[in-house]
């Protein structure tokens, strides 16, 4: 199922996808030039999922992304400067440099941050949904996880619980065909993760994850179902990561031919062509949009690079381990409260 975007929506979707791609390319370059520490998991090729989800959710829905989190984070509105800064480890990062590439909590954008323990964020998203439901909110919790993650028991427990407790959770599987080097076909006992919906009496569906309009439409449909029934839904997007799993991955576990076939289904190219065919875009407009996005992201990266040495001190770091003050309870952070819309 695919609903045609209005021109405004189409440009928005394209812009989000380009920003996600542009961010990842910058990161790739920064790692190649050894400017960044640690590792990173790029989501190049999965941008339709980022844009479709961000546009399909309400801004007050809470997401729990995965280790491969930049795209969702930027799509949701987090400032790329804060994201680059986080990856430089600086004080100006969204988590002050404590988190890094895999941990980009941004409460202002209802992003609870990823778990880097594959699938462990899923029950956390269910807990968020529980809190949302109890607060009387119409917002939902979104548990994002990969095909690899689907083999973890935490997901089974979380899905069973979400059904028996009737919680407003969207279980969203980004099936990019591989968990690290393991092909889904070898790791999964079912053809598709959404085949597991019936195991939890849960509505489920699969969507072409490289078609941004289709992703958007399925998210909308799933969210409507969740909001109106307060029941969970399992949605799976089939996509592909064009890049390696993390930095320095020679991709020995897949063929160049397979990669080529998926490159032809690059979500940005597909959607660009579609917009052009519909008369929503022409090449010049695309180039200028892309240039603008690339310039914005490059500027954010450069600014973050300049501030890269602005580290937090060890002394200050200690103050984040436990809550400040002691004795009586403080209320939940004002920021979270403000988001419990």
């Amino acid at each position: 199922m695919s609903i045609g975007f209005s021109s405004r929506q189409a440009v928005e979707a394209l812009t989000i996808m380009l920003r996600s791609r542009s961010f990842e390319r910058q990161v790739e370059g920064l790692f190649a030039r050894k400017r960044m520490h640690g590792t990173t998991h790029l989501a190049i090729g999965q941008e339709a999922v980022h844009a479709g989800m961000a546009m399909g959710l309400s801004p007050s829905d809470w997401i729990v992304p995965t280790h491969r989190c930049h795209g969702h984070t930027i799509a949701r509105g987090t400032d790329p400067y804060e994201m680059f800064s986080e990856m430089f480890g600086s004080r100006t990062g969204c988590c002050k440099g404590f988190g890094g590439s895999m941990h980009m909590t941004d409460v202002a954008h209802c992003n609870a941050g990823s778990s880097a323990v594959v699938a462990s964020g899923v029950p956390i998203a269910v807990g968020i949904a529980l809190a949302l439901k109890r607060s009387g909110s119409k917002s939902i919790g979104v548990a994002i996880f990969g095909d690899g993650a689907s083999s973890r028991g935490a997901i089974h427990e979380a899905m069973n619980l979400a059904t028996v407790w009737k919680l407003p959770v969207l279980f969203f599987c980004e099936n990019n065909g591989y968990g690290m080097s393991a092909p889904a076909g070898r790791a999964l006992s079912v053809p598709s993760v959404s085949d597991r919906g019936p195991s939890y009496s849960m509505e489920s569906s699969s969507v072409d994850g490289n078609d941004v309009e289709a992703v958007y439409a399925s998210i909308r449909e799933a969210c409507e179902y969740i909001r109106s029934t307060s029941r969970p839904f399992l949605l799976e997007a089939h996509t592909y990561r064009q890049c390696g799993h993390s930095k320095n991955d020679a991709c020995v576990y897949r063929t160049r031919d397979e990669e080529r076939r998926w490159m032809e289904r690059c979500p940005i190219r597909l959607f660009k062509d579609k917009m052009i065919k519909r008369g929503q875009l022409d090449d010049a407009r695309y180039e200028s949009l892309k240039r603008a996005v690339d310039a914005e992201i490059a500027e954010a990266a450069e600014r973050a690079a300049r501030d890269a040495d602005d580290s937090i001190s060890l002394d200050e770091a200690f103050s984040y381990v436990y809550a400040p003050g002691k004795g009586n309870a403080r209320l939940v952070s004002e920021a979270v409260r403000a988001r419990l819309a």
Binding site: V117, A154, L161, V321, V336, L340
Partner: protein, 328 residues
């Protein structure tokens, strides 16, 4: 409330008072509703609070401990019952990798105010997988707090403090203490986490302990008093943070320290206590004897009742250890 209540009733009272006080407090666990919990700690609460505040779960420790983390991030204050402490192994990912690190990794954007109530310890004949004392597994994890009360009063006041605390707290309840009697404070009695309590005063040896073993130490201290040996019994109450000043003050006075716990000695929490004593220059200089441990024996908890008793320190063993330290 009666003047003297059981440890079980004290915990139940703390839960009831906090449930009444703060609508964000909920209980999460298996069979904690009408059934009243495996150890009957939550018995009766269902009638007052019902399904809205008492969330009964399937057998999904890993799942519901993660649910508690997510709910706590949003400002709920879940109090999770882990039916047997041995099942901490099933929730350790959420505890160690998530609850303990959420505040830090988010640079304070999110907190994780939750309590895990953990029935612990041997003596019940439940076999090796239901009787462990696993507190040492979590004492090396920054971000967690650990509490292990030995009396009804402490249990109530510390549980209330734990529920009001803005960070994740592991609350170890000893199964063999559930029927122990003692006075409790009123509704306003909220303890401070991280304060030890000197439960017996004497000048010759400092005996440091926590949880059920404190009872054994107190028994021993009475026996020793008869023999003219004076023992300070320091009940740690909290393991993390640890009340080092109280420990040091007592050891500087006595010059002799013995650490007692039910968990096996090797790799147990006693090592931390000893390191904090002998690392302090002034206390080190005051020491008159080797600092000793008397702890659980190095084997899985056997089912056989005699062996099960034999693997934890007895009052007689404490008496003889203390006596030899004073003599030595």
């Amino acid at each position: 409330m009666k003047d003297v209540v059981t440890y079980r009733e004290a915990i139940r009272a703390a839960l009831a008072e906090e449930l009444r006080r703060d609508p964000n407090v909920v209980l999460i666990g298996e069979d904690i509703g009408k059934y009243g919990g495996c150890f009957k700690v939550t018995q009766g609460l269902w009638d007052e609070f019902g399904a809205d505040r008492i969330l009964e779960t399937p057998v999904s420790e890993e799942g519901f401990s993660g649910v508690a983390v997510g709910a706590a991030m949003m400002g709920m204050r879940p109090v999770v019952e882990i039916m047997y402490g041995d099942f901490l192994t099933l929730v350790s990912d959420q505890l160690v990798n998530h609850a303990a690190k959420t505040r830090f990794m988010s640079a304070g954007q999110l907190g994780c105010p939750l309590v895990y109530r953990i029935p612990t310890g041997s003596g019940t004949g439940h076999g090796a997988q239901h009787t462990q004392s696993l507190e040492a597994m979590f004492s090396n994890i920054p971000g967690l707090k650990i509490v292990a009360p030995s009396s009804p009063r402490d249990a109530k006041a510390l549980l209330k403090a734990s529920i009001r605390d803005d960070d994740p707290v592991l609350f170890f309840e000893h199964k063999m203490l559930y029927s122990a009697l003692g006075p409790v404070g009123d509704e306003s009695d909220v303890a401070e986490i991280g304060k030890a309590d000197i439960k017996h005063v004497g000048g010759d040896v400092t005996v440091i302990s926590y949880s059920r073993a404190v009872e054994t130490c107190l028994e021993a201290s009475d026996m020793l008093a008869v023999e003219g040996v004076g023992v300070d019994v320091v009940d740690l109450c909290s393991l993390r943070p640890l009340d080092v000043p109280t420990i040091l003050a007592s050891v500087r006075k006595t010059g002799r320290a013995l650490v007692v716990h039910d968990a096996p000695a090797f790799g147990g929490f006693g090592g931390e206590v000893i390191a904090s004593i002998v690392g302090d220059p002034e206390t080190f200089r005051a020491l008159k004897a080797p600092v000793r441990r008397l702890c659980g024996k190095e084997l899985p908890v056997p089912f056989n009742a005699e062996l099960e008793r034999a693997i934890v320190p007895s009052a007689e063993e404490i008496v003889s250890a203390v006596t030899s330290m004073v003599a030595g």
